[in-house]
Symmetry: C2
Subunit: 206 residues, 2 copies
């Protein structure tokens, strides 16, 4: 009998996401993952081939959606003649925020993503760059039109800073202690608002 309405693959992916977020890729074992997912240990190698492949699938499941949302939001911005810098930033940041607020594990995924940055693993970096680099390049074009006083290299530097601050904020790294009355969700929403305002000013700097 299944302990859930979801398929074995989906349950493994969900459990892996949470445990990778909490203990890291090396720190979370397949025995922990399969126990949490209520599936047999061998199921990971049967369905995914290896732990390495499982890690990639954890990313693919969320990033396909995240990038589609970002591209859709950016398209809307491009079609409006009066779009502001804040609108473009919002198109980049809000999809990440929404994903982090997703009821089933989105918050965990943002921490997994932050871990991926920290890993500095070449294979993982190439995987992320190959599959999702083109979306970043589209954003660069739009920002370049909105900030004509910045040359391409300067713009890249600043967007890199924005990406860093976003990763940090969405992964809830910060030292700001969430007040007991405030949910993780509204905490992240506040973070996103502050981030858009801060990043807009930073990008506009001479």
């Amino acid at each position: 009998m299944n302990a859930s309405q979801f398929s074995t693959k989906q349950r493994i992916l969900g459990a892996a996401e949470v445990l990778f977020a909490r203990y890291g890729f090396a720190g979370a074992s397949l025995r922990q993952v399969t126990a949490a997912a209520n599936v047999n240990l061998a199921a990971v190698n049967y369905h995914f081939g290896s732990k390495e492949n499982l890690i990639e699938e954890v990313f693919r499941r969320r990033l396909d959606d995240l990038n589609a949302r970002r591209q859709a939001a950016l398209s809307k911005v491009e079609k409006r003649a009066d779009a502001t810098l804040e609108d473009a930033l919002d198109a980049f940041i809000r999809p990440a925020l929404q994903l982090s607020l997703d009821r089933s594990g989105g918050g965990a995924f943002m921490r997994v993503l932050a871990r991926a940055y920290a890993e500095h693993d070449d294979r993982l970096r190439r995987f992320l760059s190959d599959n999702y680099g083109h979306v970043l390049r589209e954003f660069v074009v739009v920002f370049h039109h909105m900030l004509p006083h910045l040359d391409k290299e300067e713009l890249y530097w600043r967007l890199d800073i924005v990406a860093g601050a976003l990763t940090y904020a969405m992964a809830d790294f910060g030292v700001i202690k969430r007040k007991s009355g405030i949910s993780e969700q509204s905490h992240r929403e506040r973070a996103a608002e502050h981030l858009v305002r801060f990043a807009a000013a930073g990008l506009r700097a001479p």
Copy 2:
């Protein structure tokens, strides 16, 4: 015979720093560490008691110095009546930059620090908060005087963003590909310059 002029403890700390940066706390084994340090496997448990304690010592060795440098730089800023926001930011960022440029492992340490944020480990967070906390609070006071239009909570949010962007930049997380002609050191120096300019504008935002 020793393979180095440094003591066993120092060699373990140095090797651990590099390997924790590269493979993470769970991913780097004590066998790797002791082999790289050219010491016996049992030396870690003899000198540090456990792997967990070794991790804390890796932090303590660098953070004591980083905090002292930040406090000294901040004191100079406080004594000058004409100090600018950029000066205060510099007092916070430059010590981290200098540490990251330290010949022996400072760059690795900044990546270890970024991993600590990603770990979300309560014990590690408390340890860092105890070491970082009071210095951060001193910076808040100075920034508060320089940015009277921001209330305390708003200021905390923005400084948290700055800390995130700094961590990200110093750990070399970014997607900006270092050109082959540019050393890691001058890459980090560029990052720090951009960061100060960006953060100053972001903090000054209405």
